[in-house]
């Protein structure tokens, strides 16, 4: 329960802080500090229990099917980290309160800080690998937010993004490794995993698992070669650097390595990967730190170096080294955080962190200087400070390394070099800033900050001293508890003491100290010449490399993408055709499907002739479509007629009727559109470019093969005996007895499969609405407005309002108008005829509706839009709506008879004279179809036709600029 509280309090605090107004500085700090302190108290409260029972565990179910639970688990190791996190959190809250300026949105800062704290606590308290990962990534995310806190600065944005990408990527690798662990162990529970150490080490996936885990841990801990994000993360406010980037978050990686040390260590893989990375970071970080110009840069690189030290210790496969590593984790957290705080104070007070500008601050801010000096001494490993003890332990470990001569000699040497470098950069850090002549060109005159701001720093320095002087008293019991948590009963014997006697490590220490001082003195010249430039490796700028890499990724992916995709339609269609063709052919490749027994209907000459003409027309339509649009339209119409005749010939009268009417309406529709297309004069006959020729050939091949494929498929299918128990037989048999109609097609449409029809009329309605909506925003092409209309078929150049009262149009259209208007009642009658008889004979709602619509379109053609619309005729939109509603009503009427939707229902009315009248819901449904088809067709055609009006208005407006009111 207390564990839940420890985890929940920071998050709750974060939520509260985020809700605070932007000006609530003090409240935010109190909230953060209070939460951290509460956590600390709670953790300490648990100490006795941890000390006695070892582990406290709490399990809440989350996704049981995947074996993921929320397990909170605190052992000695987790306890140690909880204490560090919460204690540092409290100190940082205090420090940050003074550090942040009035312009900053302080509550937001504390909200992120607290959420980070919660996440970090979550990482250490996680008893389930996946849960650990969740919090692990949360730390990355909150770190991202905190680094980017001053997001108006570019370095902050860059640093934040870099940190996020590097640690996030590591997180994904960690996820993979956790998945593999879970796969091997069969559980994500930490205890189960720890118990399965041998199984994991022996598994064939162990190497890849280790690599992935190392990627996760090393990125998080900023280890070589992923160290570069840490210096860039220094764009964060200093409290963040002190907290996340020295004391806690970067420790998550080594936390994890130590946590899994019992499982993974002991193999060569482990040594090489972890130890190698640690060694590189140790040396590289120390080397780079020596030359940094930015105070925080020095600290960042030294952090890399120290974390490298810890990693190296972990990679040494020795239990004593593990002890040293854990010990150094504690020490590093204290002295580095205090150094960061000091650096932050200097920055805050003087306005700069540039080592070349700062000088002689000792006199101006003595308290800060003292604190910084002590911490730096701890960092350098000066005796009587905690850094010394852990360094001694490290030296001792390197001495005992066995194995290859290179590692036997190289490791101690490297240790000494690193020690010397750390002395050098610590010296430089202190001497440059606090000694020497007082600086004069600082942005602000520095002085000691308020006392309260110094307190966190002081507390940490005190801790350094205490541990450094009496390590056995302060840390021995804690360390033992931690080690028991990590190693169980295999805790090695060790002794934390300042003085172990004169031994090799001490000599190494001394050598490092002397070498460091010498190095500092020797490098001053270089430092003055090119301040901040790291010799030899300055070209290996991690940030630059990273940015270049990112840009390369962006550019490379853009290039690859442009190669892998296209924005143009033609290649897309080509690909589509190609894909379809090939996948269709694939199953047919083995052969054996060509019909052997052919059931052919005897061929007819006339039929062949029809298709000779139809096919030729289709080809010609394809050929003419570019330059002779109207011709192409007519030719396609001829092919359509051939289709219609085919339907009729081959026993599909309904289809023939529909095809014919649709054909007519489509022709009118496309003709209405043609006028808006640009004139296309046949290009001057010249040599066609080779690419074009090639493309045409390719397209021709694709088209021809598609045609051939379709033809073959059609032929094979037609000559194949029909499926023996096709559902069609049922329709034929039951159409009359159950469907009450003789025209099976119509019965299928309005009864058996009426739902399809319902959907289909909906499609028609939807299209009509879309067309209407789109055309409301139609814009006539520029040149149709610019060029006088005379060139386009003799329309008047100016717009004359047609005479709406004239009974007949003048001119050529007079005689056609007489005839066509006479045709309207006739066509309406015929449409009703086709509608009503549909159930028994070819016809039905579609055909009827299209006939009716054609009749009305004809009126528009001879009468003109305005003339026709001056008379109350039809509201297409309402017809669409009514059509849907009528069809719906017909479909739903049977509900009240206890039948499902669309069941047909007949009502027999006995009428005098007539006899019984069959009123079938299917007929009503067909009436709905009829109405919708009429409405939709008319709406589309008329909407398109109305664009002429729009153009005319534009022309009128263009002609008479004064007259800009809209027409009726």
């Amino acid at each position: 329960m207390l564990l839940t509280l420890i985890l929940a309090i920071p998050f709750a605090g974060s939520l509260c802080a985020s809700l605070l107004p932007a000006t609530a500085r003090r409240a935010g700090a109190w909230l953060a500090g209070g939460s951290a302190l509460t956590c600390l108290v709670l953790t300490l409260w648990l100490t006795p229990e941890i000390a006695t029972s070892g582990i406290i565990k709490l399990r809440l179910p989350w996704i049981p099917t995947l074996g993921v639970d929320l397990t909170l688990r605190m052992d000695g190791y987790a306890w140690l980290f909880s204490v560090i996190i919460s204690a540092m959190g409290a100190l940082i809250a205090l420090y940050a309160h003074y550090y942040l300026s009035a312009q900053d949105p302080v509550p937001r800062f504390f909200a992120f800080l607290l959420s980070f704290m919660g996440a970090m606590l979550g990482v250490v308290l996680a008893g389930n690998l996946i849960q650990l990962l969740v919090f692990w990534e949360l730390t990355s995310l909150s770190s991202f937010m905190l680094i980017g806190y001053w997001h108006h600065r570019m370095d902050a944005r860059r640093g934040a993004r870099m940190a996020l990408i590097v640690t996030g990527t590591g997180g994904f690798c960690l996820l993979a490794s956790m998945l593999i662990i879970g796969h091997i162990v069969g559980s994500y529970d930490l205890d189960a995993v720890l118990a399965a150490a041998t199984a994991i080490r022996g598994h064939r996936w162990y190497p890849i698992l280790l690599v992935l885990l190392a990627l996760g841990a090393l990125t998080k801990s900023a280890q070589f070669p992923f160290h570069f994000w840490l210096p860039n993360a220094m764009a964060a406010p200093t409290p963040v650097s002190a907290y996340l980037h020295s004391a806690t978050m970067v420790k998550a990686g080594v936390f994890l390595l130590a946590r899994f040390w019992p499982i993974f260590s002991g193999t060569d893989w482990w040594t090489w990967i972890i130890g190698g990375a640690g060694l590189c970071s140790l040396l590289l970080g120390a080397y780079a730190a020596t030359f940094q110009r930015d105070m925080k840069g020095v600290l960042a690189y030294s952090t890399i170096s120290h974390l490298g030290l810890i990693t190296l210790l972990l990679g040494m496969n020795s239990r004593l080294a593990l002890v040293a590593a854990v010990f150094h984790i504690i020490n590093h957290a204290t002295f580095k955080a205090s150094l960061f705080m000091a650096a932050g104070i200097v920055d805050h007070e003087s306005g700069t962190r540039d080592l070349t500008r700062l000088s002689g601050l000792r006199t101006l801010m003595p308290l800060t200087a003292t604190l910084a000096m002590v911490s730096a001494a701890a960092m350098a490993g000066v005796p009587l400070l905690n850094g010394f003890i852990s360094k001694e332990m490290f030296f001792a470990e390197t001495v005992f390394v066995t194995g290859h001569w290179a590692s036997r000699w190289g490791l101690p040497l490297a240790a000494v070099v690193a020690g010397a470098l750390s002395v050098a950069y610590s010296l430089r850090f202190i001497l440059q800033v606090f000694f020497g002549p007082p600086a004069t060109d600082l942005p602000r005159t520095p002085h000691d900050p308020p006392r309260m701001m110094l307190i966190p720093c002081a507390v940490l320095v005190l801790f350094c001293l205490a541990v450094g002087i009496l390590p056995g008293l302060f840390l021995q019991p804690v360390l033992t508890m931690v080690m028991r948590a990590l190693l169980g009963n295999n805790v090695p014997a060790y002794d934390l003491q300042v003085w172990h006697g004169l031994n090799l490590p001490l000599l190494m220490s001394l050598a490092a100290m002397i070498a460091g001082i010498g190095l500092y003195l020797g490098l001053r010249a270089h430092d003055r010449r090119v301040p901040g430039q790291v010799p030899l490796i300055y070209r290996l700028d991690g940030r630059q490399t990273f940015e270049t890499l990112l840009e390369a990724i962006d550019a490379g992916s853009a290039r690859l993408l442009s190669w892998l995709q296209t924005q143009r339609l033609q290649p897309q269609v080509f690909l589509l055709v190609l894909a379809t063709g090939s996948v269709t052919l694939l199953p047919l490749l083995p052969g054996g499907w060509w019909p052997r027994v052919t059931l052919t209907t005897p061929a007819q000459w006339s039929f062949g002739l029809i298709w000779l003409a139809g096919g030729a027309c289709a080809l010609a339509a394809a050929y003419q479509a570019k330059y002779h649009r109207a011709a192409s339209l007519m030719l396609a119409g001829a092919a359509g007629l051939a289709t219609c005749l085919t339907f009729a010939w081959l026993s599909a009268p309904d289809l023939a009727l529909t095809q014919l009417t649709v054909e007519v309406v489509t022709t009118v529709l496309i003709l209405l559109g043609l006028r808006w297309l640009p004139p296309r004069i046949e290009e001057f006959p010249g040599p066609t470019p080779g690419t074009t020729r090639w493309r045409r050939r390719r397209d021709f091949l694709a088209a021809a093969s598609t045609g051939a494929l379709m033809a073959v498929l059609a032929y094979v299918m037609m000559t194949r005996p029909p499926a023996h128990d096709s559902i069609a037989a049922y329709f034929v048999q039951q159409a009359w007895p159950l469907g009450g109609g003789a025209n099976v097609v119509n019965v299928i449409l309005v009864d058996f499969r009426a739902f399809d029809t319902f959907g289909e009329i909906t499609v028609l309605g939807v299209v009509a609405l879309s067309v209407y909506a789109l055309l409301r925003r139609f814009r006539p092409p520029a040149e149709t407005i610019a060029a006088p209309l005379r060139h386009r078929g003799g329309m008047p150049a100016t717009f004359e309002e047609p005479d709406l009262q004239a009974p007949l149009p003048d001119g050529t259209l007079r005689v056609p108008a007489v005839l066509v208007r006479l045709l309207l009642p006739v066509s309406t009658l015929i449409s009703l005829y086709f509608l009503l008889r549909g159930h028994n004979l070819p016809g039905g709602g579609f055909i009827g509706g299209l006939i009716m619509a054609t009749g009305i379109i004809l009126q528009y053609m001879v009468g003109g839009i305005l003339w026709v619309e001056a008379r109350p005729l039809i509201r297409p939109q309402a017809w669409i709506a009514l059509g849907l509603l009528v069809a719906g009503a017909a479909a739903m009427a049977v509900w009240w008879a206890g039948k499902p939707l669309l069941a047909s229902h007949t009502l027999d009315l006995a009428l005098p004279l007539v006899g019984t009248l069959h009123l079938s819901s299917a007929l009503l449904f067909d009436v709905g179809v009829y109405m919708l088809v009429v409405g939709a067709t008319i709406l589309m055609i008329i909407a398109l036709a109305h664009q002429s009006l729009r153009l005319h208005r534009k022309l009128v407006e263009a002609a008479t600029p004064a007259l800009t009111e809209r027409g009726p």
Partner: protein, 113 residues
């Protein structure tokens, strides 16, 4: 008959596909129309060919074997209407595209080699 119809379907489909691969919107819409015929005939052909056997039944003699398969016909009917609707929509879209981009290229811009 079968081979004639199969060839017809092939020719229609081939012309349609050729047009679909062309760069002008009008060519595309004609391609849709031609391909539409081909597809409709193809669906229709799946019911196998019958001459003089329209599925308008004599109530007394509803033997499935003596009538053409009505189901593909119903499907084609639906397909014709949907094809009509989509042709109309595509037409309007191409007009809108033409009005806004001042070109009738399918990509809304001219590609000059």
């Amino acid at each position: 008959m079968e081979w004639i119809l199969a060839l017809a379907i092939g020719v229609l489909a081939g012309s349609g596909v050729w047009l679909l691969l062309r760069p002008r919107t009008f060519q595309f819409i004609m391609g849709l129309a031609l391909l539409g015929y081909a597809v409709n005939l193809f669906i229709f052909a799946m019911g196998r060919l019958r001459v003089d056997a329209p599925p308008v039944i004599d109530p007394a003699w509803a033997d499935p074997a003596s009538y053409a398969d009505p189901l593909p016909q119903a499907l084609v009917l639906t397909a014709i209407v949907i094809g009509f609707a989509t042709t109309a929509l595509f037409l309007v879209v191409l007009l809108a595209s033409r009005g806004m981009s001042d070109t009738d290229h399918v990509d809304g811009e001219e590609h000059r080699a």
